[in-house]
Symmetry: C3
Subunit: 168 residues, 3 copies
Protein backbone atom coordinates (compact mmCIF):
# COMPACT_ATOMS: atom_id res chain seq x y z
CA UNK A 1 0.00 0.00 0.00
CA UNK A 2 2.85 2.45 0.68
CA UNK A 3 1.94 5.90 2.02
CA UNK A 4 -1.53 7.41 1.78
CA UNK A 5 -2.95 10.85 2.54
CA UNK A 6 -6.65 11.01 3.45
CA UNK A 7 -8.14 14.52 3.38
CA UNK A 8 -11.67 15.63 4.21
CA UNK A 9 -13.77 18.14 6.09
CA UNK A 10 -15.03 17.86 9.65
CA UNK A 11 -17.12 14.70 10.29
CA UNK A 12 -16.61 13.63 6.68
CA UNK A 13 -15.85 10.02 7.59
CA UNK A 14 -12.13 10.36 6.79
CA UNK A 15 -10.92 8.55 9.93
CA UNK A 16 -13.21 5.56 9.32
CA UNK A 17 -12.06 5.39 5.70
CA UNK A 18 -8.40 5.60 6.78
CA UNK A 19 -8.93 2.92 9.44
CA UNK A 20 -10.32 0.62 6.74
CA UNK A 21 -7.18 1.09 4.64
CA UNK A 22 -4.85 0.42 7.59
CA UNK A 23 -6.83 -2.58 8.83
CA UNK A 24 -6.66 -4.11 5.34
CA UNK A 25 -2.86 -3.79 5.46
CA UNK A 26 -2.26 -5.13 8.97
CA UNK A 27 -4.24 -7.05 11.59
CA UNK A 28 -2.46 -5.31 14.49
CA UNK A 29 -1.89 -1.74 13.36
CA UNK A 30 -0.58 1.26 15.27
CA UNK A 31 -2.86 4.24 15.94
CA UNK A 32 -0.59 7.25 16.23
CA UNK A 33 -2.65 9.99 17.87
CA UNK A 34 -1.37 13.55 17.69
CA UNK A 35 -4.03 14.89 20.10
CA UNK A 36 -2.99 16.42 23.40
CA UNK A 37 -4.79 14.95 26.38
CA UNK A 38 -5.39 18.39 27.92
CA UNK A 39 -8.49 19.22 25.92
CA UNK A 40 -11.72 17.69 27.23
CA UNK A 41 -13.63 18.06 23.95
CA UNK A 42 -10.74 16.30 22.20
CA UNK A 43 -10.58 13.50 24.79
CA UNK A 44 -14.24 12.74 24.14
CA UNK A 45 -13.46 12.43 20.45
CA UNK A 46 -10.42 10.20 21.06
CA UNK A 47 -12.51 7.93 23.32
CA UNK A 48 -15.24 7.66 20.69
CA UNK A 49 -12.65 6.81 18.03
CA UNK A 50 -11.03 4.17 20.25
CA UNK A 51 -14.33 2.45 21.02
CA UNK A 52 -15.10 2.46 17.29
CA UNK A 53 -11.75 0.93 16.28
CA UNK A 54 -11.82 -1.89 18.81
CA UNK A 55 -9.00 -3.38 20.83
CA UNK A 56 -6.62 -4.84 18.23
CA UNK A 57 -4.92 -1.48 17.75
CA UNK A 58 -1.81 -0.28 19.59
CA UNK A 59 -2.36 3.37 20.52
CA UNK A 60 0.68 5.67 20.64
CA UNK A 61 0.27 9.35 21.56
CA UNK A 62 2.75 11.90 20.23
CA UNK A 63 1.76 15.53 19.84
CA UNK A 64 5.06 16.86 18.36
CA UNK A 65 7.89 14.44 17.43
CA UNK A 66 5.97 12.77 14.63
CA UNK A 67 8.93 11.90 12.37
CA UNK A 68 10.95 10.20 15.13
CA UNK A 69 7.89 8.32 16.37
CA UNK A 70 7.04 7.12 12.85
CA UNK A 71 10.59 5.83 12.33
CA UNK A 72 10.58 4.04 15.71
CA UNK A 73 7.18 2.44 15.19
CA UNK A 74 8.02 1.41 11.63
CA UNK A 75 10.75 -0.92 12.97
CA UNK A 76 8.04 -3.26 14.33
CA UNK A 77 6.67 -3.71 10.82
CA UNK A 78 3.03 -2.82 11.62
CA UNK A 79 0.92 -0.51 9.47
CA UNK A 80 0.43 2.94 11.02
CA UNK A 81 -2.51 5.34 11.06
CA UNK A 82 -1.58 8.96 11.89
CA UNK A 83 -4.65 10.90 13.10
CA UNK A 84 -4.34 13.74 12.42
CA UNK A 85 -1.93 16.16 10.77
CA UNK A 86 -3.97 19.29 11.47
CA UNK A 87 -3.80 18.65 15.22
CA UNK A 88 -0.06 18.07 14.89
CA UNK A 89 0.28 21.43 13.09
CA UNK A 90 -1.71 23.09 15.83
CA UNK A 91 0.59 21.56 18.48
CA UNK A 92 3.67 22.75 16.54
CA UNK A 93 2.29 26.30 16.38
CA UNK A 94 1.63 26.34 20.15
CA UNK A 95 5.21 25.05 20.68
CA UNK A 96 6.52 27.81 18.38
CA UNK A 97 8.25 25.25 16.12
CA UNK A 98 9.50 25.97 12.60
CA UNK A 99 6.50 24.68 10.66
CA UNK A 100 8.15 24.71 7.25
CA UNK A 101 11.10 22.58 8.42
CA UNK A 102 8.81 20.19 10.27
CA UNK A 103 6.43 19.87 7.30
CA UNK A 104 9.25 19.16 4.89
CA UNK A 105 10.77 16.56 7.25
CA UNK A 106 7.43 14.76 7.54
CA UNK A 107 6.87 14.76 3.78
CA UNK A 108 10.39 13.37 3.22
CA UNK A 109 9.80 10.69 5.87
CA UNK A 110 6.35 9.79 4.46
CA UNK A 111 7.85 8.83 1.12
CA UNK A 112 10.45 6.54 2.69
CA UNK A 113 8.82 4.43 5.39
CA UNK A 114 9.20 0.62 5.19
CA UNK A 115 5.61 0.05 6.37
CA UNK A 116 2.18 1.08 5.11
CA UNK A 117 1.20 4.41 6.65
CA UNK A 118 -1.99 6.44 6.32
CA UNK A 119 -2.11 10.12 7.27
CA UNK A 120 -5.46 11.73 8.09
CA UNK A 121 -5.82 15.50 7.81
CA UNK A 122 -8.59 18.09 7.78
CA UNK A 123 -9.31 20.27 4.78
CA UNK A 124 -9.59 23.72 6.38
CA UNK A 125 -8.98 26.10 3.47
CA UNK A 126 -12.30 26.19 1.61
CA UNK A 127 -14.23 28.60 3.82
CA UNK A 128 -14.14 32.36 4.18
CA UNK A 129 -10.78 33.98 5.12
CA UNK A 130 -10.63 33.86 8.94
CA UNK A 131 -10.60 37.20 10.77
CA UNK A 132 -7.75 36.37 13.13
CA UNK A 133 -4.13 36.14 11.99
CA UNK A 134 -3.36 32.87 13.82
CA UNK A 135 -6.24 31.09 12.05
CA UNK A 136 -5.03 32.47 8.69
CA UNK A 137 -1.49 31.28 9.43
CA UNK A 138 -2.84 27.89 10.46
CA UNK A 139 -4.73 27.32 7.23
CA UNK A 140 -1.70 28.49 5.23
CA UNK A 141 0.48 25.97 7.08
CA UNK A 142 -2.12 23.24 6.56
CA UNK A 143 -2.41 23.98 2.84
CA UNK A 144 1.35 23.90 2.32
CA UNK A 145 1.73 20.70 4.36
CA UNK A 146 -1.03 19.02 2.36
CA UNK A 147 0.69 19.95 -0.91
CA UNK A 148 4.02 18.51 0.32
CA UNK A 149 2.40 15.36 1.69
CA UNK A 150 0.32 14.83 -1.46
CA UNK A 151 3.50 15.11 -3.54
CA UNK A 152 5.34 12.43 -1.55
CA UNK A 153 2.51 10.02 -0.76
CA UNK A 154 1.64 7.21 -3.16
CA UNK A 155 -2.12 7.78 -2.89
CA UNK A 156 -4.32 10.74 -1.97
CA UNK A 157 -8.04 10.50 -1.19
CA UNK A 158 -10.65 13.16 -0.49
CA UNK A 159 -13.65 12.13 1.63
CA UNK A 160 -17.07 13.83 1.50
CA UNK A 161 -20.10 12.51 3.40
CA UNK A 162 -18.32 9.17 3.84
CA UNK A 163 -17.70 8.82 0.09
CA UNK A 164 -14.17 8.73 -1.32
CA UNK A 165 -12.65 10.38 -4.37
CA UNK A 166 -9.15 9.32 -5.43
CA UNK A 167 -7.10 12.44 -6.22
CA UNK A 168 -3.82 10.55 -6.82
CA UNK B 1 -34.65 8.17 -9.68
CA UNK B 2 -35.14 7.11 -6.05
CA UNK B 3 -33.50 9.29 -3.40
CA UNK B 4 -30.72 11.77 -4.13
CA UNK B 5 -28.46 13.90 -1.92
CA UNK B 6 -27.12 17.12 -3.46
CA UNK B 7 -24.25 18.73 -1.52
CA UNK B 8 -22.38 21.92 -2.25
CA UNK B 9 -21.05 25.15 -0.77
CA UNK B 10 -22.86 28.46 -0.52
CA UNK B 11 -24.09 29.76 -3.91
CA UNK B 12 -22.69 26.70 -5.62
CA UNK B 13 -25.77 26.18 -7.77
CA UNK B 14 -26.90 23.12 -5.80
CA UNK B 15 -30.58 24.17 -5.60
CA UNK B 16 -30.81 24.78 -9.35
CA UNK B 17 -29.17 21.41 -10.02
CA UNK B 18 -31.55 19.69 -7.58
CA UNK B 19 -34.57 21.44 -9.13
CA UNK B 20 -33.52 20.10 -12.52
CA UNK B 21 -33.46 16.55 -11.17
CA UNK B 22 -36.89 16.89 -9.54
CA UNK B 23 -38.46 18.58 -12.56
CA UNK B 24 -37.23 15.75 -14.78
CA UNK B 25 -38.99 13.28 -12.47
CA UNK B 26 -42.33 15.08 -12.10
CA UNK B 27 -44.16 17.92 -13.81
CA UNK B 28 -45.86 19.07 -10.59
CA UNK B 29 -43.32 18.51 -7.83
CA UNK B 30 -43.40 19.51 -4.18
CA UNK B 31 -40.93 22.08 -2.82
CA UNK B 32 -40.47 21.24 0.85
CA UNK B 33 -38.89 24.32 2.43
CA UNK B 34 -37.28 23.97 5.85
CA UNK B 35 -36.71 27.72 6.26
CA UNK B 36 -38.42 29.61 9.06
CA UNK B 37 -40.30 32.67 7.89
CA UNK B 38 -38.97 34.78 10.78
CA UNK B 39 -35.65 35.64 9.16
CA UNK B 40 -35.80 38.51 6.65
CA UNK B 41 -32.52 37.56 4.89
CA UNK B 42 -33.90 34.04 4.48
CA UNK B 43 -37.26 35.24 3.18
CA UNK B 44 -35.48 37.18 0.44
CA UNK B 45 -33.71 33.98 -0.56
CA UNK B 46 -36.92 31.93 -0.52
CA UNK B 47 -38.65 34.55 -2.69
CA UNK B 48 -35.78 34.54 -5.19
CA UNK B 49 -35.86 30.73 -5.31
CA UNK B 50 -39.65 30.70 -5.84
CA UNK B 51 -39.51 33.20 -8.70
CA UNK B 52 -36.75 31.12 -10.27
CA UNK B 53 -38.65 27.85 -10.01
CA UNK B 54 -41.91 29.15 -11.48
CA UNK B 55 -45.49 28.37 -10.52
CA UNK B 56 -45.88 24.65 -11.24
CA UNK B 57 -44.45 23.73 -7.85
CA UNK B 58 -46.45 23.13 -4.68
CA UNK B 59 -44.63 24.78 -1.79
CA UNK B 60 -44.84 23.21 1.67
CA UNK B 61 -43.06 24.78 4.64
CA UNK B 62 -41.95 22.60 7.54
CA UNK B 63 -39.05 23.66 9.76
CA UNK B 64 -38.97 20.60 12.06
CA UNK B 65 -41.21 17.56 11.36
CA UNK B 66 -39.45 16.60 8.15
CA UNK B 67 -40.00 12.83 8.30
CA UNK B 68 -43.77 13.09 8.91
CA UNK B 69 -44.16 15.71 6.20
CA UNK B 70 -42.20 13.62 3.70
CA UNK B 71 -44.39 10.59 4.40
CA UNK B 72 -47.60 12.64 4.06
CA UNK B 73 -46.50 14.32 0.84
CA UNK B 74 -45.27 11.06 -0.66
CA UNK B 75 -48.85 9.70 -0.61
CA UNK B 76 -49.76 12.09 -3.44
CA UNK B 77 -47.11 10.49 -5.65
CA UNK B 78 -45.29 13.69 -6.61
CA UNK B 79 -41.51 14.09 -6.62
CA UNK B 80 -40.21 16.12 -3.65
CA UNK B 81 -37.36 18.60 -3.30
CA UNK B 82 -36.20 19.19 0.29
CA UNK B 83 -34.31 22.49 0.59
CA UNK B 84 -32.35 22.32 2.75
CA UNK B 85 -31.07 19.93 5.42
CA UNK B 86 -28.64 22.39 7.02
CA UNK B 87 -31.50 24.80 7.81
CA UNK B 88 -33.48 21.89 9.21
CA UNK B 89 -30.53 20.99 11.47
CA UNK B 90 -30.30 24.59 12.58
CA UNK B 91 -34.03 24.59 13.44
CA UNK B 92 -33.63 21.32 15.39
CA UNK B 93 -30.74 22.78 17.41
CA UNK B 94 -32.80 25.88 18.28
CA UNK B 95 -35.67 23.58 19.32
CA UNK B 96 -33.23 21.56 21.46
CA UNK B 97 -34.17 18.32 19.65
CA UNK B 98 -32.12 15.10 19.75
CA UNK B 99 -30.15 15.57 16.53
CA UNK B 100 -28.79 12.05 16.35
CA UNK B 101 -32.26 10.46 16.60
CA UNK B 102 -33.72 12.93 14.09
CA UNK B 103 -30.83 12.40 11.65
CA UNK B 104 -31.14 8.63 11.82
CA UNK B 105 -34.91 8.79 11.32
CA UNK B 106 -34.50 10.98 8.24
CA UNK B 107 -31.83 8.72 6.74
CA UNK B 108 -34.04 5.66 7.32
CA UNK B 109 -37.02 7.45 5.75
CA UNK B 110 -34.94 8.66 2.77
CA UNK B 111 -34.12 5.12 1.74
CA UNK B 112 -37.77 4.00 1.82
CA UNK B 113 -39.94 6.65 0.16
CA UNK B 114 -42.26 5.56 -2.69
CA UNK B 115 -41.56 8.78 -4.68
CA UNK B 116 -38.41 10.43 -6.08
CA UNK B 117 -36.95 12.78 -3.48
CA UNK B 118 -33.95 15.11 -3.69
CA UNK B 119 -32.33 16.51 -0.54
CA UNK B 120 -30.22 19.69 -0.79
CA UNK B 121 -27.65 20.41 1.91
CA UNK B 122 -24.72 22.76 2.46
CA UNK B 123 -21.18 21.52 2.85
CA UNK B 124 -20.01 23.46 5.94
CA UNK B 125 -17.05 21.42 7.19
CA UNK B 126 -14.16 22.42 4.93
CA UNK B 127 -13.19 25.72 6.51
CA UNK B 128 -11.23 26.58 9.63
CA UNK B 129 -12.53 25.22 12.98
CA UNK B 130 -15.12 27.79 14.18
CA UNK B 131 -14.33 29.63 17.40
CA UNK B 132 -17.74 29.19 19.01
CA UNK B 133 -18.95 25.86 20.36
CA UNK B 134 -22.42 26.03 18.79
CA UNK B 135 -20.92 26.45 15.30
CA UNK B 136 -18.56 23.50 15.94
CA UNK B 137 -21.50 21.38 17.12
CA UNK B 138 -23.50 22.43 14.07
CA UNK B 139 -20.84 21.35 11.60
CA UNK B 140 -20.38 18.07 13.48
CA UNK B 141 -24.13 17.42 13.24
CA UNK B 142 -24.11 18.36 9.54
CA UNK B 143 -21.17 16.08 8.79
CA UNK B 144 -22.75 13.11 10.56
CA UNK B 145 -26.14 13.72 8.90
CA UNK B 146 -24.47 13.91 5.47
CA UNK B 147 -22.72 10.59 6.08
CA UNK B 148 -26.00 8.90 7.10
CA UNK B 149 -27.92 10.43 4.20
CA UNK B 150 -25.20 9.54 1.68
CA UNK B 151 -25.28 5.94 2.90
CA UNK B 152 -29.05 5.61 2.42
CA UNK B 153 -29.57 7.68 -0.74
CA UNK B 154 -29.27 6.08 -4.18
CA UNK B 155 -27.24 8.96 -5.63
CA UNK B 156 -24.98 11.65 -4.15
CA UNK B 157 -23.77 14.71 -6.06
CA UNK B 158 -21.34 17.49 -5.13
CA UNK B 159 -21.82 20.85 -6.84
CA UNK B 160 -19.04 23.42 -7.35
CA UNK B 161 -19.53 26.61 -9.40
CA UNK B 162 -22.66 25.11 -10.94
CA UNK B 163 -20.78 21.98 -12.07
CA UNK B 164 -21.68 18.53 -10.76
CA UNK B 165 -19.54 15.64 -9.60
CA UNK B 166 -21.22 12.30 -8.92
CA UNK B 167 -19.90 10.88 -5.66
CA UNK B 168 -22.26 7.87 -5.61
CA UNK C 1 -6.49 26.71 -24.72
CA UNK C 2 -9.22 29.38 -24.60
CA UNK C 3 -10.45 30.48 -21.17
CA UNK C 4 -9.90 28.51 -17.99
CA UNK C 5 -11.17 28.88 -14.41
CA UNK C 6 -8.96 27.44 -11.66
CA UNK C 7 -10.66 27.12 -8.26
CA UNK C 8 -9.23 25.89 -4.99
CA UNK C 9 -8.93 26.59 -1.28
CA UNK C 10 -6.24 28.60 0.46
CA UNK C 11 -2.70 27.30 -0.24
CA UNK C 12 -4.11 24.57 -2.45
CA UNK C 13 -1.52 25.08 -5.18
CA UNK C 14 -4.02 26.71 -7.56
CA UNK C 15 -1.70 29.59 -8.60
CA UNK C 16 1.17 27.22 -9.45
CA UNK C 17 -1.21 25.01 -11.46
CA UNK C 18 -2.60 28.07 -13.28
CA UNK C 19 0.93 29.36 -13.99
CA UNK C 20 1.77 26.03 -15.58
CA UNK C 21 -1.22 26.30 -17.91
CA UNK C 22 -0.36 29.88 -18.92
CA UNK C 23 3.34 29.15 -19.37
CA UNK C 24 2.49 26.23 -21.68
CA UNK C 25 0.43 28.63 -23.82
CA UNK C 26 2.91 31.51 -24.03
CA UNK C 27 6.60 32.08 -23.29
CA UNK C 28 6.05 35.72 -22.27
CA UNK C 29 2.70 35.79 -20.48
CA UNK C 30 1.01 38.59 -18.58
CA UNK C 31 0.43 38.30 -14.85
CA UNK C 32 -2.63 40.41 -14.08
CA UNK C 33 -2.61 40.98 -10.32
CA UNK C 34 -5.80 42.21 -8.66
CA UNK C 35 -4.13 42.77 -5.28
CA UNK C 36 -3.96 46.26 -3.81
CA UNK C 37 -0.46 47.30 -2.75
CA UNK C 38 -1.75 48.79 0.52
CA UNK C 39 -1.84 45.52 2.44
CA UNK C 40 1.51 44.37 3.85
CA UNK C 41 0.47 40.73 4.28
CA UNK C 42 -0.68 40.74 0.65
CA UNK C 43 2.54 42.37 -0.61
CA UNK C 44 4.55 39.56 0.99
CA UNK C 45 2.42 37.06 -0.91
CA UNK C 46 2.79 38.95 -4.21
CA UNK C 47 6.58 39.09 -3.75
CA UNK C 48 6.74 35.36 -3.05
CA UNK C 49 4.62 34.63 -6.13
CA UNK C 50 6.82 36.87 -8.32
CA UNK C 51 10.05 35.21 -7.17
CA UNK C 52 8.45 31.84 -7.87
CA UNK C 53 7.29 32.73 -11.38
CA UNK C 54 10.62 34.19 -12.54
CA UNK C 55 11.31 37.21 -14.75
CA UNK C 56 9.76 36.28 -18.10
CA UNK C 57 6.35 37.49 -16.98
CA UNK C 58 4.96 40.99 -17.52
CA UNK C 59 3.19 42.06 -14.32
CA UNK C 60 0.15 44.34 -14.58
CA UNK C 61 -1.69 45.48 -11.45
CA UNK C 62 -5.37 46.35 -11.67
CA UNK C 63 -7.60 46.11 -8.61
CA UNK C 64 -10.91 47.12 -10.23
CA UNK C 65 -11.15 47.64 -14.04
CA UNK C 66 -10.55 44.01 -14.89
CA UNK C 67 -12.59 43.81 -18.11
CA UNK C 68 -10.96 46.88 -19.70
CA UNK C 69 -7.49 45.72 -18.69
CA UNK C 70 -8.10 42.24 -20.11
CA UNK C 71 -9.24 43.70 -23.43
CA UNK C 72 -6.23 46.03 -23.61
CA UNK C 73 -3.71 43.33 -22.73
CA UNK C 74 -5.29 40.84 -25.13
CA UNK C 75 -4.32 43.10 -28.08
CA UNK C 76 -0.66 42.16 -27.56
CA UNK C 77 -1.50 38.50 -28.13
CA UNK C 78 0.09 37.13 -24.94
CA UNK C 79 -1.58 34.61 -22.65
CA UNK C 80 -2.91 36.15 -19.43
CA UNK C 81 -3.09 34.87 -15.85
CA UNK C 82 -5.61 36.70 -13.63
CA UNK C 83 -4.77 36.20 -9.95
CA UNK C 84 -7.25 36.34 -8.35
CA UNK C 85 -10.98 36.90 -8.70
CA UNK C 86 -11.76 36.79 -4.97
CA UNK C 87 -9.42 39.75 -4.34
CA UNK C 88 -11.06 41.59 -7.24
CA UNK C 89 -14.49 40.97 -5.66
CA UNK C 90 -13.19 42.23 -2.35
CA UNK C 91 -11.89 45.42 -4.06
CA UNK C 92 -15.25 45.92 -5.79
CA UNK C 93 -17.10 45.61 -2.48
CA UNK C 94 -14.82 48.18 -0.84
CA UNK C 95 -15.42 50.49 -3.84
CA UNK C 96 -19.19 49.94 -3.47
CA UNK C 97 -19.48 48.74 -7.08
CA UNK C 98 -22.46 46.82 -8.50
CA UNK C 99 -21.10 43.31 -8.12
CA UNK C 100 -23.75 41.60 -10.23
CA UNK C 101 -23.13 43.89 -13.24
CA UNK C 102 -19.34 43.57 -12.87
CA UNK C 103 -19.53 39.78 -12.53
CA UNK C 104 -21.72 39.42 -15.60
CA UNK C 105 -19.42 41.70 -17.63
CA UNK C 106 -16.38 39.64 -16.67
CA UNK C 107 -18.07 36.35 -17.52
CA UNK C 108 -19.16 37.73 -20.92
CA UNK C 109 -15.62 39.00 -21.57
CA UNK C 110 -14.04 35.70 -20.47
CA UNK C 111 -15.87 33.77 -23.16
CA UNK C 112 -14.76 36.15 -25.93
CA UNK C 113 -11.06 36.95 -25.52
CA UNK C 114 -8.73 36.33 -28.49
CA UNK C 115 -5.91 35.04 -26.23
CA UNK C 116 -5.61 32.19 -23.71
CA UNK C 117 -6.61 33.42 -20.27
CA UNK C 118 -6.59 31.63 -16.92
CA UNK C 119 -8.58 32.97 -13.96
CA UNK C 120 -7.61 31.93 -10.43
CA UNK C 121 -10.16 32.16 -7.64
CA UNK C 122 -10.58 30.95 -4.06
CA UNK C 123 -13.31 28.56 -3.03
CA UNK C 124 -14.71 30.27 0.08
CA UNK C 125 -18.19 28.76 0.43
CA UNK C 126 -17.59 25.35 2.02
CA UNK C 127 -17.12 26.39 5.65
CA UNK C 128 -19.58 27.40 8.33
CA UNK C 129 -21.86 30.39 7.64
CA UNK C 130 -19.82 33.47 8.68
CA UNK C 131 -21.17 35.52 11.58
CA UNK C 132 -20.78 38.92 9.97
CA UNK C 133 -23.01 40.12 7.12
CA UNK C 134 -20.19 41.44 4.92
CA UNK C 135 -18.47 38.01 4.93
CA UNK C 136 -21.79 36.33 4.06
CA UNK C 137 -22.33 38.79 1.22
CA UNK C 138 -18.78 38.20 0.02
CA UNK C 139 -19.15 34.45 -0.21
CA UNK C 140 -22.52 34.87 -1.95
CA UNK C 141 -20.89 37.16 -4.52
CA UNK C 142 -17.99 34.72 -4.96
CA UNK C 143 -20.31 31.77 -5.44
CA UNK C 144 -22.41 33.55 -8.05
CA UNK C 145 -19.31 34.83 -9.89
CA UNK C 146 -17.85 31.32 -9.94
CA UNK C 147 -21.07 29.93 -11.44
CA UNK C 148 -21.08 32.60 -14.17
CA UNK C 149 -17.38 32.17 -14.92
CA UNK C 150 -17.65 28.37 -14.98
CA UNK C 151 -20.52 28.66 -17.46
CA UNK C 152 -18.53 30.84 -19.89
CA UNK C 153 -15.03 29.36 -19.52
CA UNK C 154 -13.93 26.45 -21.72
CA UNK C 155 -12.32 24.55 -18.83
CA UNK C 156 -12.80 24.50 -15.06
CA UNK C 157 -10.37 22.88 -12.62
CA UNK C 158 -10.53 22.36 -8.86
CA UNK C 159 -7.22 22.07 -7.00
CA UNK C 160 -6.76 20.25 -3.68
CA UNK C 161 -3.33 19.72 -2.07
CA UNK C 162 -1.68 20.53 -5.40
CA UNK C 163 -3.73 17.89 -7.23
CA UNK C 164 -6.16 18.83 -10.00
CA UNK C 165 -9.67 17.64 -10.79
CA UNK C 166 -11.23 18.68 -14.08
CA UNK C 167 -14.82 19.82 -13.46
CA UNK C 168 -15.45 20.94 -17.07
Amino acid sequence: MGSVLVLGGARSGKSVFAEGLVRAASNAPVYLATARAGDEEMLTRIDAHQRQRGTDWLTVEEPLALVDTLRNEAIAGRAILVDCLTLWLSNLMIADADIEIESKALADCAGNLPVPVVFVSNEVGQGIVPENKMARDFRDHAGRLHQMMAASCDEVWFITAGLSQKLK
